[in-house]
Point group: C2
């Protein structure tokens, strides 16, 4: 763990606390981004900022200057060989009641924490996952956004058996949407597929990168409705997020999966955007 | 506004801030209660505590002693003629990541704020409401709970036209669920009805009291699936919560409603549990 890990800036000032009246605390009225830090630099910065700006626009939250966020992030990260940078942007402080206040000034927090020491085996040989009982609600207004209303993920995460590194969530219609902290991809007959997120889930930055890089190496990818059975029937399955990069799935319940050739090619194609071991 | 309004206790200590690492801020991982305060006492205390305990059990959050919460609430309220008491209970502070930490100690905040001066007209002559475009997601795991994931209510509240005191939310199947801050009841042919909340919405304390008190004065009440059209077709419509008590609805779009006899009888039946003007 780097010596600077654990530090937080709240609106640019070193602090570990926010107002109890902040709408992030009161209502989960905000957004967040989680970035891998490598050699003092947050990875995929532009893509994370694009998503944050897009989310802020949809929720009607005023954005700070990107330069300011960059400077604050670099201030925390510059000495970190590896780490995790978390940025939270909320609608700010207001009086009691749901109504947003026009003059509210958004709150931004930037925190650096230690790099999680995921076993290299997860990346190289894959992980066991399970389907969760907790469902992900269908909500077109919030779908795709990395907002602060994360109780579903908390409940799903609490369900996981010890041997499972991740859990997959379905919606009420039985569509597979995502993992608790990852997006999911399948490979069937050479075609890559990942769930449509127009009614739920977080449109992960690494998911976006996989879609881009797959196209660049001529692997077709479809964004579509995927049922639980489609995942179990797939030839290869893998998970992505900005910290783990790509983890192959080697088992779901009794179904075993190989670490297949397309999974390996995608893993290679995104290597530069992942933290090296 | 009472001189003690605006004060907050965080885990029993006067403070206006919480840790940036609190799971309430990070994930909305917690619950809340909003109570009317009259002559130094929070109203319907037992019912609010029952709901809070029920929610904590469902989310797996450890509860403080009720006596402690009562003492802290009284400490803030004792001198307030009227006010609003808000209690928040979160899973506490933990490291990054959704997984709840077994040893996390829950955070409780108790805040007193000024009584909102709702116009007496709202209670006596009714309010205009609208149906919101924002939908309420169907989620059996969180349905009924007054949890901290409130982005839907924030977005819906932001939609309201100036002349509307409240907005009604539908789910994806077109079922009317609740208002942004209230529960809704209809009266048709002498029968009271209110939406089933097993897939979404907050089971309001005042809603529960209305169900009890209606039964006590021999007014039948059904908890069932209500469509938008069922509300528009009703003879009387009213809204409830712990602060407003009961507001008749006098208009939805072009449809006008009278302040009917059953609405008035219910209003009378819950009067002792509401803040007097």
């Amino acid at each position: 763990m780097n010596s600077s890990a654990g530090t937080t800036l709240v609106n640019g000032q070193p602090s570990e606390s926010i107002s109890v009246h902040d709408r992030g605390f009161q209502f989960g009225d905000g957004l967040f981004e989680t970035l891998a830090v490598s050699h003092g630099t947050p990875l995929l910065w532009e893509k994370h900022m694009q998503r944050l700006w897009h989310g802020a626009k949809r929720l009607g939250i005023t954005t700070p200057s990107e330069r300011l966020l960059w400077d604050e992030s670099k201030q925390l990260c510059h000495a970190a060989e590896r780490g995790v940078l978390k940025i939270i942007l909320t609608r700010g402080i207001s009086h009691r009641g749901y109504a947003p206040v026009a003059e509210a000034s958004p709150t931004r927090t930037v925190s650096l924490s230690a790099w999680p020491d995921y076993p290299a085996q997860h990346r190289d040989h894959g992980v066991t996952v399970q389907f969760c009982r907790t469902m992900i609600a269908r909500n077109r207004d919030l779908a795709g956004l990395k907002h602060l209303n994360r109780l579903e993920q908390v409940l799903a995460r609490a369900e996981l058996s010890k041997d499972c590194a991740e859990g997959l969530l379905l919606d009420e219609q039985g569509n597979a949407i995502e993992g608790t902290m990852t997006n999911v991809f399948t490979v069937s007959q050479g075609i890559l597929a990942t769930p449509d997120l127009s009614h739920g889930g977080v449109a992960g930055v690494m998911r976006g990168l996989v879609l881009e890089r797959a196209a660049a190496i001529s692997i077709s990818c479809q964004v579509l409705t995927l049922k639980q059975q489609d995942i179990l029937n797939a030839e290869e399955v893998f998970l992505t997020n900005s910290l783990i990069g790509l983890w192959p799935v080697c088992r779901i319940d009794s179904r075993k999966f190989p670490v297949g050739r397309i999974t390996q090619r995608i893993q290679e194609a995104i290597r530069d955007a992942c933290c090296a071991d």
